[in-house]
């Protein structure tokens, strides 16, 4: 076979007619203008990638530096000596372990409730026809245009009267029933053909079993997208905890890290970077594992939580 002519492409492509697979490529590179465009495009990509990733690199590298080294002039991108001990001290000298535990509990419970009630309600909106349904859905949608900051005060007054301030429960209630989950799942359920539910109904399945045994198994991508987005949003939330959680042992990671700077006047910056790195790692792992769902979820819904 003419492997050299194919320029190292895997032999699978050679099944296609050679001219067909080769011609666009030769066309593209033969035009100098197109070639220049591609080079400029690649350079732009590299520049953007650097701008995006350098802050993260600096954050992780600084967590290993000596405190004075963080701000040395000129900038040192890598530490002189690697201070791994920050990662031990962080657990013993700050409340990081408690904050992490709180955040994990909060994010898990919120995600579970949001996925459960969101997909349940979405079935009602997508598959059951009843008077007033569309108006009700418009109300759900309309609240997306209303910023939380504009009604956080009445909400706080209510939850304070229910004696829920300074509890994780307040934050669970606050985030578990968003319109976003309903919206995302409804969009997805509507793409599932009605014939499937009809067939199940003829087999004597109730609507609830159709939801549980037909809809949910077919909606794994959408459920994953919703679960991931909700988990990440709850993990990263700063304002809710800022308003509701007063005592240190109830703080979440974000609130702890923020106050870590505010209270620590000597400003042990390398320790701060250690905390930040630890707080970002779980999200980075979740994102890398499920990025397909993240991106599809956002592209189909066009809305964030």
């Amino acid at each position: 076979m003419t492997v050299t002519q194919l320029g190292g492409t895997p032999p699978v492509t050679s099944k296609r007619p050679l001219t067909g697979s080769n011609r666009p490529r030769t066309d593209r590179s033969s035009s100098p203008a197109a070639r220049a465009r591609r080079i400029v495009g690649s350079l732009l990509l590299v520049a953007f990638a650097l701008a995006l990733l350098v802050p993260f690199f600096w954050m992780v590298a600084s967590s290993f530096k000596d405190s004075n080294e963080v701000f040395s002039v000129p900038v040192r991108w890598l530490p002189d000596t690697w201070h791994w001990e920050h990662y031990v001290e962080l657990w013993t000298e700050t409340g990081m372990a408690t904050w992490l535990r709180n955040t994990i509990i909060l994010a898990t419970v919120v995600t579970f409730l949001q996925v459960l009630t969101g997909s349940f309600a979405a079935y009602g909106f997508a598959k059951v026809r009843f008077p007033g349904r569309d108006v009700l859905f418009l109300v759900y949608l309309g609240t997306i245009a209303v910023p939380w900051q504009s009604y956080m005060i009445p909400q706080y007054i209510m939850l304070a009267q229910a004696k829920l301030t300074n509890t994780l429960l307040a934050l669970i209630v606050l985030q578990a029933f968003g319109a976003f989950g309903v919206f995302l799942m409804k969009q997805f359920f509507e793409t599932i053909p009605e014939e499937l539910s009809e067939a199940a109904r003829l087999d004597g399945l109730s609507e609830y079993s159709i939801w549980a045994r037909i809809m949910l198994p077919l909606s794994v991508p959408a459920l994953a997208a919703l679960a991931l987005l909700t988990f990440v949003n709850t993990w990263n939330d700063y304002l809710g905890p800022l308003l509701y959680l007063r005592s240190r042992e109830n703080w979440t990671v974000q609130l702890g890290l923020k106050n870590f700077v505010a209270n620590n006047l000597t400003a042990d910056y390398s320790m701060l970077f250690t905390g930040l790195t630890i707080s970002v790692i779980p999200i980075a792992v979740i994102f890398l594992l499920g990025q397909r769902f993240f991106i599809e979820g956002i592209a189909t819904s066009g809305l964030k939580g």
């Binding site: 591609r38 495009g41 690649s42 990509l45 953007f48 990638a49 701008a51 995006l52 990733l53 802050p55 600096w58 701000f71 002039v73 900038v75 409730l113 009630t117 309600a121 009602g124 909106f125 059951v128 009843f130 008077p131 609240t143 245009a145 910023p147 900051q149 504009s150 009604y151 956080m152 005060i153 009445p154 706080y156 007054i157 209510m158 209630v173 606050l174 578990a176 029933f177 319109a179 990263n236 700063y238 304002l239 308003l243 974000q254 890290l257 700077v261 505010a262 910056y269 701060l272 930040l276 707080s279 999200i283 980075a284 993240f294 991106i295 956002i298 592209a299 066009g302 809305l303 964030k304």
Partner: protein, 310 residues
């Protein structure tokens, strides 16, 4: 219900239909109710009560008395409110166009067959899923006037006196716009990418056959094809800009008192007057202003979009 002329089938159908409607209503509500209960209590009720609270002198200690439009009269004359209102518009005027340009540019780049596109898509999205606290703290230090890496790079490039960024009156807001654009561009890029994929390929081919160059193809094929996406992005970005809060509050915790009152925004005004100074009633009048700002902007954009699509 039963008309004289209707046969037995006719009398049964409406009744069966209404029975079916009742059954469906109960069924539908049984699905929606678990979520709706939480949604109504946590979102709907507070949105409605907001207007009442804004007409009272509610404070943190309990009940408030009805005082009519007193809060709003004070609000209009409050220098902090005026400042935060202007700053919110200033921030949005910078952030919305900049983010649209950058994320659309990124989407166009990623829509090509360049090498490394999928890696880059992941990288571009990464800031968006990182917490505001981490982003704000890291960028705060990156922007540090004397020791920060950014100014060091600028000095290296020959800028003799680089700006003080977050410590400067004039540069604090642009610095915040840079940070938030950096964070948001991956998200809006995904929306634009989805939009670009919906533009029919044949249109590009036709334009190319007609001899249209790259710029002409962009203006006459890409942009019109992206109109629905552009509308969605503009609406989402505008609302998100009007309510900007967490980034600013982490970067300038002193809020109104700090030297950078240059960056005080509407949400921060509400937080300051409500949660720091415990004037819930008064702060709610500011919240009503934010509410209407977002609603009016959304309605205007819907109207413009409707007129253009006719």
């Amino acid at each position: 219900m039963t008309s004289a002329t209707a046969g037995p089938a006719g009398t049964r159908t409406p009744r069966r239909r209404s029975k079916l409607a009742l059954r469906n209503t109960l069924l539908g509500w049984s699905f929606i109710l678990p979520n709706f209960l939480g949604f109504a209590i946590i979102t709907l009720v507070p949105v409605v009560t907001l207007f009442y609270v804004s007409l009272t002198d509610f404070n943190i200690f309990g009940k408030g008395d009805f005082i009519g439009f007193g809060n709003f009269e004070r609000l209009v004359a409050d220098p902090l409110f005026q400042r935060s209102f202007v700053n919110t518009l200033y921030y949005s005027a910078l952030h919305v166009p900049l983010t649209i340009v950058v994320s659309l540019g990124l989407a166009l780049l990623l829509n090509t067959k360049l090498r490394g596109v999928s890696f880059f898509r992941t990288a571009a999205f990464f800031p968006y899923i990182t917490s505001i606290v981490a982003i704000a703290l890291v960028w705060n230090l990156l922007f540090s006037p004397t020791y920060g890496p950014i100014n060091e790079v600028l000095r290296f490039l020959g800028v003799a006196e680089p700006p003080g960024w977050l410590t400067s009156q004039d540069w604090a807001m642009p610095a915040i716009v840079i940070i938030s654009t950096w964070r948001d561009m991956g998200y809006y890029m995904i929306l634009f990418l989805a939009g670009l994929q919906a533009v029919p390929r044949e249109l590009y081919e036709a334009a190319r056959v007609d001899g249209a160059n790259v710029m002409q193809r962009f203006w006459n094929v890409t942009l019109p094809g992206l109109r629905p996406t552009m509308f969605l992005v503009t609406v989402l970005l505008t609302i998100a800009s009007f309510k900007i809060f967490d980034l600013i509050i982490v970067l300038s915790p002193g809020g109104a008192a700090a030297p950078n009152a240059a960056t005080v925004v509407l949400s921060q005004f509400i937080y300051q007057r409500g949660f720091i100074e415990s004037k819930f009633g008064y702060a709610s009048s500011g919240a009503v202003a934010l509410f209407f700002l977002c609603i009016i902007a959304t309605i205007i954009q819907f109207l413009i979009n409707k007129r253009r699509s006719v």
